[in-house]
Amino acid sequence: MTTDEPLLRVRGLKVGFPTSDGLVKASDAIDLTIRTGETLALLGETGSGKTVLGMAILRLLQPNTRIEGEILYRGRDLLSLPEREMQKVRGREIAVVLQNSGTSFNPVLRVGDQIAEAITLHRGLKGPDAEAAAVDLLDRVRIADPARMAREYPHRFSGGMRERALIALALACNPSFLIADEPTRGLDAVTRREILSLFSEINRDRSVLFITHDIEAAATLAARVAVMYAGEIVEIGPVDAVLSSPVHPYTRGLLGSLPERGMRPIPGSAPSLIAPPAGCRFSPRCTFAVGRCEKEHPGLVEVGPGHYARCMLYD
């Protein structure tokens, strides 16, 4: 169920980290929209900038990060909000399932208390009411014996249970928009499938930004897919279009590297984000590169209905 007005619109987002070696341009001129109830998968390797993008939306990056551009949520630019207003957005309107569930819970506090904290903060429930709500959430993410587990500490949870608990935490206040950062990383195949099925069920009417390197998960859950490389979006479009008939050479290489499809790795390695190549950032590794590719920087070009790619070959 989608409406026409996008819930989230990212315009020209640039994120840079000042380091002693120079400014690391983790994200460069990102444009993105997500509609209500839509799941967008963000695919890419480590270092492509996908996690940074997710964190930037909630302004969870380090204070000395340079951020430019606009992040419009329901029409309001999140980047221009004062911190106090942003705190009202976090957890309540937009929530995030962080990348590493093993270290994302505070080890000295009980899991139930950590979930109840969010509930008390945004939903106004106190004490036993908040605790009961937390238990209820743990139950909804299919954790067995939720009342007992709520009183346990994080180190008592298995990997899969921790992931579910993290999801429960994110959904505690029923946010309209969820950012999930690699929720299936490091899980075994069975648990992975369970988490994915839980995910699709629990986020039926929610907008989701699903950050992952797991192509299969993207195929299962997402309506649209965006592929990131070296801090840029190189291809974006409906999931079937992008994954079945990829256009950008990188996407094709990515899919070609899957075990089922031949496991051919892409030669070379990702470029430095401090001094990225002048033209197309993928050109050094691209088998189809022509002279133009190294000199001109390609923009996103429409290659199909709602399907865009950043490649000279289609310009």
């Binding site: 480590t46 996690t51 204070p63």
Partner: protein, 295 residues
């Protein structure tokens, strides 16, 4: 461990701080080093700098500061300023010699324990734990009053008793080094343990050892002067601790003789501070705590 969304205070102050600290650390480093060198020079050239013999009666007792006696005289009519100058020697000897002994001991134990690991490490560290329950300072007091050693022996005993604090830090560093690639590689080439410990491990922990030396020096200076304060120091040398004690016992407080009481304490505090700052600035340099950005 990622590193997003942390120390959440204003952007500009971190940027300003970074700039200030980079040069601020250099300022602290060089300033404190300068102070330390000045003290060393004073100690070395004491006979030349001091106007009077520190033990000679050179005026009337308890006289306030004037042109000849810059800091007045004490109850024995000795020139306080000269005694202050000469006292530098005792302080530095106690600090540096004690630190040297202590650091050598710590380093040897730390390297052996860290390098061999396993059972050796366990046994050694347990021994260290037991040794650390012995109250070093009271034991030091008892030994020095009965031994009545001169200043050099006192410094050595101080180092022996008061060491063992740095063992853990050195050991943990050596533990990491011992399993690092280049050490394992050198072992594979047939190098002996002693060779590896001396030629490979030691140079890599020298910065750590250096910092420990400086902090130990600060510690032993204070302890050594403390001995003087309790009346245990070497009576043949001028000792700031003795000066403070004499000043407080013989009317320094009641009579308000600040020129007798304050300078020795101030002198100790300044060198102590210089050493502390130097150690801190140096440690910040060799131990970057800035976190790595992982995207």
């Amino acid at each position: 461990m990622r590193s997003f969304g942390v120390t959440p205070h204003a952007r500009s102050s971190i940027r300003v701080w970074r700039w200030v600290t980079v040069s601020g650390h250099n300022v602290a480093l060089y300033l404190s080093l300068g102070v330390i060198l000045v003290y060393c020079a004073i100690a070395l050239f004491a006979p030349v700098i001091a106007p009077f013999d520190p033990f000679a009666m050179s005026g009337s007792p308890l006289a306030p500061p004037d042109a000849t006696h810059l800091l007045g005289t004490n109850d024995l009519a000795q020139d306080i300023f000269s005694r202050l100058i000469w006292g530098t020697r005792a302080t530095l000897i106690l600090g540096f010699l004690g630190a040297a002994v202590s650091v050598v001991m710590d380093t040897i134990i730390g390297i052996v324990a860290g390098y061999y690991g396993g059972r050796v490490d366990e046994v050694v560290m347990r021994f260290v734990d037991v040794m650390m329950t012995i109250p070093a300072f009271p034991l030091l007091l008892v030994v020095t009053i009965f031994f009545r050693p001169g200043i050099y022996v006192t410094a050595v005993i101080m180092g022996l008793f008061g060491g063992l604090n740095g063992v853990r830090i050195i050991r943990s560093q050596v533990l990491t080094l011992a399993v690092s690639d280049f050490v394992v590689g050198t072992k594979a080439l047939g190098a002996g343990d002693g060779y590896i410990m001396g030629r490979h491990i030691l140079p890599n922990i020298l910065p750590l050892v250096g910092v420990k030396f400086v902090t130990s020096a600060q510690h032993f200076m204070l302890v050594g002067i403390g001995l003087g304060f309790l009346g245990i120091g070497d009576q043949n040398l001028v000792d700031w601790g003795q000066m403070i004690e004499r000043a407080s016992q013989n009317g320094g407080i009641i009579l308000g003789l600040w020129w007798w009481l304050i300078p020795p304490g101030l002198a100790v505090t300044v060198i102590s501070l210089a050493l502390a700052w130097f150690a801190y600035a140096w440690e910040e340099r060799i131990n970057p705590r800035f976190q790595v950005m992982r995207v």
